[in-house]
């Protein structure tokens, strides 16, 4: 595949990206990403779905420069960024931001919310008064009270902390946010409100998301397009409806049929189809 | 496993070589005119030179070192400059005293610390506070002060044990026991304080692990879980500390042997190092490094046995 979006210029492109981690105790390096091609267009959400160990989180970290890219290229807005210098990287944070999975560890417990939100603004040389105003606006945007700025993370619930993390990501008005399992640690009801907030923000600001998750149903509602990653390779990419309703790759099909749905009759049908598919392949479960 | 041991022994040998060279060079820096020191201020300069030449001190330092090394690898650590004793022989005579002291302390520490640590970690409450206070007290008092207090109370005031002297075990086991008891006890105080804290902390950590709850849910009794699963998982960090303590004892032995007049390695260290008796100091340094390498190897093997995840091979 050359480009997934021939008719429009991509904001972010990955071409044949490989990432490997050093092996423990002189063992060979393990390759986590084995040639990834991806495109995210402006104001688009690309959903990236995969199981644990598939490399989905590593893609996000490679884009953000948190892990080194062994080979291949990462291009953002026409500029190659996988080889960016530390200084250029810091400047890129204006455009590239992140929301992590765990709302408990992604906020420094000893800094007030205001200090945490000020961090990106100060790093980009914001002045005090503008910073304060911006923090107030950000808290308002994620529907937290203004006095939250003076409080510590431990006074907030998981969902509220994730709102704070979203506010931090928004602080510099980025053009792309890597959302790394942003709702996986949250309860069902909280999850829904956070997803709605992310959608609203995209409507308003035209920010693009790379939305990483293990949950197909979440990815499907959030993403214009979905990419399925398995063992370091993208096995299937396409419009959300197409991938989740008529998957082409057998792996995507198994993934879809494996996720149980909250409907007894429907779940019974899925179970039967999954059993039939397994019998057809008569392959042993990959887990064993 | 064998390959692991072999690799560690080789790297230990390299370390020994490097440290021996460094120590030899460093020990040669001070301009000690050994011949002059031996013969006195009034001696004739030519006699002094002759004496230095006889000791081989007129040669370049590196030549001296390689000469020393060539003999050392054959087990000949030379003779003392000042007393003309055979260093290997002297060490061989004194080593058993120090070793028995250190083994005694390690044994006492291991047994007492594990009992106290498990007791405190499992029972918590008052037992826990008692062990913690003990830990603080043991850590707070300098080791030799504890020794002095023990001597004052048990030897001078109560007269239960001799304050000074040593009876070899082959002469009289009872006498040996009474001469070794106070030294062992005084060195054990600090060790027990440290290791029991470590065991306590590790026991508390392990008791919080999910698998302990699962084992309980399988119907196993708490004593069984504590003595099989908790102890095994909690002992690795304690062993590391015990290994470090054992090495630290080499230093403690210096003071204790000096105080009790025990004819061990520690007791000789002070006088020989003060005079800069290079062959003896070199022998002591080498002995220490060998001890450190062996203890670390032993600790790692034990930990590998206790914790399969850390196991090499």
């Amino acid at each position: 595949m050359s480009t997934a979006s021939p008719q429009h210029e991509a904001l972010l492109s990955l071409r044949d990206v490989h990432v490997s981690f050093p092996g423990r105790r002189r063992r060979a390096r393990t390759e986590v990403l084995k040639g990834i091609d991806l495109d995210v267009r402006p104001a688009e959400t690309l959903g990236l779905v995969g199981e644990s160990g598939s490399g989905k989180t590593t893609i996000g970290r490679a884009i953000l420069g948190l892990v080194p890219v062994a080979s291949g290229t990462v291009t953002f807005d026409g500029e190659r960024i996988d080889t960016a210098t530390a200084a250029r990287r810091r400047a890129l944070s204006r455009d590239l931001q992140v929301i992590f999975q765990d709302p408990y560890t992604s906020l420094n417990p000893s800094l007030t919310i205001g200090d945490t939100l000020a961090e990106p603004l100060i790093a980009q040389g914001g002045e005090a008064r503008a910073t304060r105003a911006r923090i107030a606006a950000l808290l308002d945007r994620v529907r937290l009270p203004a006095d939250a700025a003076h409080r510590l993370p431990r006074e907030f619930s998981g969902g509220q902390r994730q709102r704070i993390a979203i506010a931090r990501a928004l602080a510099l008005r980025p053009r792309l946010i890597v959302c790394d399992e942003p709702v996986s640690a949250l309860d069902l009801t909280t999850q829904r409100t956070i997803l709605d907030l992310l959608l609203e923000i995209q409507e308003e600001t035209a920010v693009a998301y790379l939305f990483v998750s293990h949950d197909l149903s979440v990815v499907r509602t959030m993403s214009h397009r979905v990419a399925v990653i398995h063992e370091g390779r993208i096995v299937e990419t396409g419009e959300a409806a197409r991938v989740t309703e008529a998957p082409e790759h057998p792996y995507t099909r198994t993934l879809l049929l494996s996720a149980p749905v909250a409907d007894v009759a429907e779940q019974r049908r899925r179970r039967a189809r999954r059993a039939a598919a397994a019998a057809a392949e008569s392959a042993p479960s990959p887990d064993c | 496993m064998l390959r692991f041991v072999a690799r560690r022994l080789v790297s230990g040998a390299v370390l020994l070589l490097v440290i021996s060279l460094l120590s030899y060079l460093l020990l040669s820096i001070p301009d000690n005119d050994v011949g002059r020191q031996l013969l006195g201020q009034s001696a004739d300069q030519s006699a002094v030179d002759a004496r230095n030449a006889a000791l081989g001190l007129d040669r370049p330092v590196l030549v001296q070192y390689f000469d020393w090394l060539a003999h050392a690898v054959r087990g000949d650590l030379g003779t003392s400059w000042f007393t003309s004793e055979d260093v290997t022989q002297t060490i061989a005579n004194r080593l058993p005293v120090t070793i028995s002291l250190m083994l005694g302390v390690t044994l006492v520490t291991a047994v007492v610390s594990f009992l106290l640590g498990v007791w405190a970690g499992v029972r918590r409450g008052a037992a826990d506070r008692f062990v913690q206070v003990l830990g603080v007290a043991g850590y707070a008092l300098p080791g030799f002060l504890v020794t002095l207090i023990l001597v004052l109370v048990f030897a001078v005031k109560l007269g239960w044990f001799p304050a000074i002297g040593y009876t070899p075990i082959e002469e009289s086991p009872g006498g040996w026991l009474s001469t070794i008891t106070l030294p062992v006890a005084s060195l054990s105080v600090a060790s027990v304080a440290g290791v029991s804290q470590q065991v306590r902390g590790a026991v508390i950590d392990v008791l919080r692990q999910d698998y302990i709850r699962t084992l309980r849910a399988r119907g196993l009794s708490m004593p069984r879980i504590v003595f099989k699963h908790v102890l095994r998982n909690a002992s690795a960090p304690a062993l590391v500390l015990l290994g470090l303590q054992f090495i630290g004892l080499l230093g403690g032995a210096v003071l204790v042997e000096q105080i009790f007049g025990l004819p061990g390695i520690g007791g000789m260290t002070v006088s020989y190092t003060a005079r800069g008796d290079v062959p003896v100091v070199m022998a002591l340094v080498m002995l220490t490094v060998v001890g450190v390498v062996l203890i670390n190897l032993l600790t790692d093997i034990l930990i590998g046995w206790l914790n399969p995840k850390a196991r090499v091979s």
Binding site: H8, R41, P42, A43, G65, R94, Q97, V98, T105, S110, E119, A123, L138, R154, L188, I201, E204, T205, V218, R220, R225, L255, S258, P260, D263, Q267, P286 | P30, A126, V136, Y139, P142, L152, V156, R208, Q209, D210, Y211, R213, T214, R216, R218, G219, L220, S221, M222, N233, I247, L250, G251, V254, I259, V270, T273, A274, L284, V285, T288, N296, P308
Partner: protein, 607 residues
């Protein structure tokens, strides 16, 4: 430890008892109060006062001391206390008070020098090694381990042979020898913090490394370093005095160690000579260690030790109360009016489950659904009798296979576990003991709970692994937990739960930690086991899909209460309670996929 805590409470911990935060016991906001808390702690205040007095007295030695430290009048040797010489005279007729005061200058000065050197070497290198890892880290760690492994006393003696006996030079050497204590501690903390997502977030925010270290790292290191300073100072004073006691360094200068040596020489004649230098040394060193302990408590914000965890009181549940809640009771598991409470440090109780009713009949799978903090895990633990320390069944009745277990003594409750009621946990990996093979962990309960012979138990273990569809069971028996996958570990745990033939299985989020494909397999396995053996299952979960897949009936739990119970199909299709409805509304199964992307022309400037 924190993860375990979270699991135990099954609640969103309000204080976020995470590793990162316990590392950060010395958090900034709490720090303001830390000094005040230190002073309020009697031990802390006393040791601080003692140290201040010592420093003052030693600094003012020329003013306070009756005479010079070396002034001797042999005629007064061993003289007792008198007006002019409040502490008496030593064996050479020197004034003991003067020698203590002047000696303290060497002792305290030397300790300050050593600690300063150690700080200067250990802290920056530890910061660097911990933050950047890599080659410098490996090299520095190797050196630190080597130096830690060397017996300090021996090295000091050897270095005296090289560097001469100037006491200050020896203190510098000592500084080098204790530097690894700082290095290792700082490096460890920094390496932990380095892996925290909030540090990654700071990097993504564009903060340069220097500022990340200043903002996020130093704050965490500060507290532990202060504590370590006190401990290392105590250590340095002890070693220094030991050297002086041996007559190394110092020579004729008055030092506490030399005074002790002199006293020791005269131990038979005048043991009292040991008192004052011994006291000075012990008090200084002790005050430093106590100060460190008090500092740690102050920084960790636990000025008062929390009330010792009360041994889980097993107040017998009122039989009368049990009868109050109505309805016919199931034979296998029947819960009526169950409340679970935890003892707070201040002695009051926090109730997390507020009186619930629940039944599981033989051969039935009942789902207990709720969000975190709803009390579902606490309910499961109550049935098993494995509530964590401080937690207890405060009222209500739990009947398991005809036996009331609320208020049952631990010993008798234990007899039910494994054989009547079994448990499948959430996290497969953390629920296997890493130090024992799979085989030994499977065999142990069968031998000690059921009393099978070694051979019988081994055969049955093999059978169990086949039953849970593990390929090559003979090999798996010999493996350690870290050598198998998460899905396989969960099968092993299910096999373990089935090993003593229970009638009731309590599965606490048994598939939450697994990938969907493995989850589907494990759900199939549970369904098959239940069908083959007529097991009753209480399935605790937050996943409504899992409920739809497996459960006959479902109970929805919210904030410690069961809000709705009924047949699964009915509850999922036609929820009666508003909370159940909200829960179902949040499920995205039926939500439509997002429409394809359309190019956006202008990028809005407002956020």
């Amino acid at each position: 430890m924190s993860e375990a805590n979270r699991g135990v409470w099954g609640v969103d911990p309000p204080q976020g008892t995470r590793m990162s935060e316990s590392v950060q016991g010395a958090a900034a906001a709490r720090r303001r109060g830390a000094f005040r808390r230190l002073l309020r702690n009697p031990l802390g205040a006393a040791s601080l006062l003692l140290l201040a007095l010592l420093v003052l007295a030693v600094a003012l030695a020329p003013v306070l001391a009756p005479q010079g430290p070396q002034t001797a009048s042999l005629g007064d040797a061993f003289a007792g206390a008198s007006g002019a010489h409040p502490l008496g005279m030593d064996s050479a007729g020197r004034d003991i008070l003067s020698r203590i005061l002047y000696g303290g200058r060497n002792t305290l000065g030397g300790a300050v020098l050593s600690v300063a050197i150690a700080l200067l070497l250990g802290v920056p290198s530890g910061l660097f090694a911990g933050y950047y890892a890599g080659k410098f880290d490996s090299a520095a760690t190797w050196v630190a381990n080597l130096v830690m492994a060397l017996p300090a006393m021996v090295v000091l003696l050897a270095s005296r042979a090289i560097l001469g006996s100037n006491p200050w030079i020896l203190m510098i050497v000592l500084g080098f020898l204790v530097a690894p204590q700082f290095f290792r501690m700082v490096r460890g903390i920094v390496a932990d913090v380095r892996g925290e997502p909030y540090v990654d977030a700071a990097r993504v925010s564009g903060l340069p490394d220097v500022r990340i270290v200043a903002r996020h790292v130093l704050i965490v290191v500060r507290g532990p370093v202060i504590i370590q300073v006190a401990l290392v100072a105590g250590l340095a004073i002890g070693l220094q005095a030991g050297l002086e006691f041996l007559g190394v360094g110092g020579g004729a200068t008055a030092t506490w160690g030399a005074m002790l040596n002199e006293a020791f020489q005269n131990i038979q004649r005048a043991p009292i000579l040991m008192l004052w230098p011994g006291l000075a040394l012990g008090a200084t060193s002790g005050a430093l260690v106590l100060l460190a302990t008090a500092l740690r408590d102050a920084l960790e914000d636990r000025a008062g030790t929390p009330a010792a965890a009360r041994p889980a009181e097993r107040r017998a549940a009122g039989e009368a109360e049990a009868g109050v809640a109505g309805g016919e009771r199931a034979q296998l598991l029947s819960i009526r009016g169950l409340a679970v409470a935890y003892a707070r440090p201040d002695g009051t109780d926090a109730e997390v489950v507020h009186g619930i009713d629940l039944d599981v009949r033989p051969g039935e799978i009942v789902g207990l659904v709720g969000e975190s903090g709803s009390g579902k895990t606490q309910t499961a633990f109550s049935v098993l009798g494995i509530l964590p320390d401080g937690g207890r069944v405060s009222r209500g009745s739990i009947i398991v296979a005809g036996q009331e277990v609320a208020g049952l003594p631990e010993k008798r409750h234990r007899r039910l576990r494994g054989t009547t009621v079994a448990y499948v946990p959430q996290e497969p990996m953390s629920n296997l003991d890493p130090a024992f093979t799979i085989g030994s962990q499977l065999v142990e309960p069968m031998r000690h709970v059921v009393g099978l012979s070694r051979k019988q138990a081994a055969e049955r273990a093999l059978e169990l692994l086949r039953m849970v569809e593990i390929p090559e069971p003979e090999q798996v028996l010999r493996r350690f937990p870290h050598q198998i996958s998460g899905g396989m570990a969960q099968r092993v745990l299910i096999a373990g739960a089935m090993s003593c033939d229970p009638e009731l299985l309590i599965a606490d989020e048994p598939t939450t930690a697994l990938d969907v494909r493995v989850q589907a397999d494990v759900l199939d396995l549970l369904r098959r086991l239940q069908a083959e053996r007529g097991l009753g299952v209480l399935l605790v979960t937050h996943n409504l899909g899992v409920v739809a897949d497996l459960c006959d009936r479902v109970a929805v739990m919210n904030e410690g209460r069961i809000v709705e119970t009924g047949a699964t199909d009915r509850v999922l299709r036609d929820p009666q309670d508003p909370y159940t409805r909200r829960l179902l509304d949040a499920v995205l199964d039926d939500a439509p996929p997002r429409a394809p992307w359309r190019p956006v022309e202008a990028r809005s400037e407002t956020a």
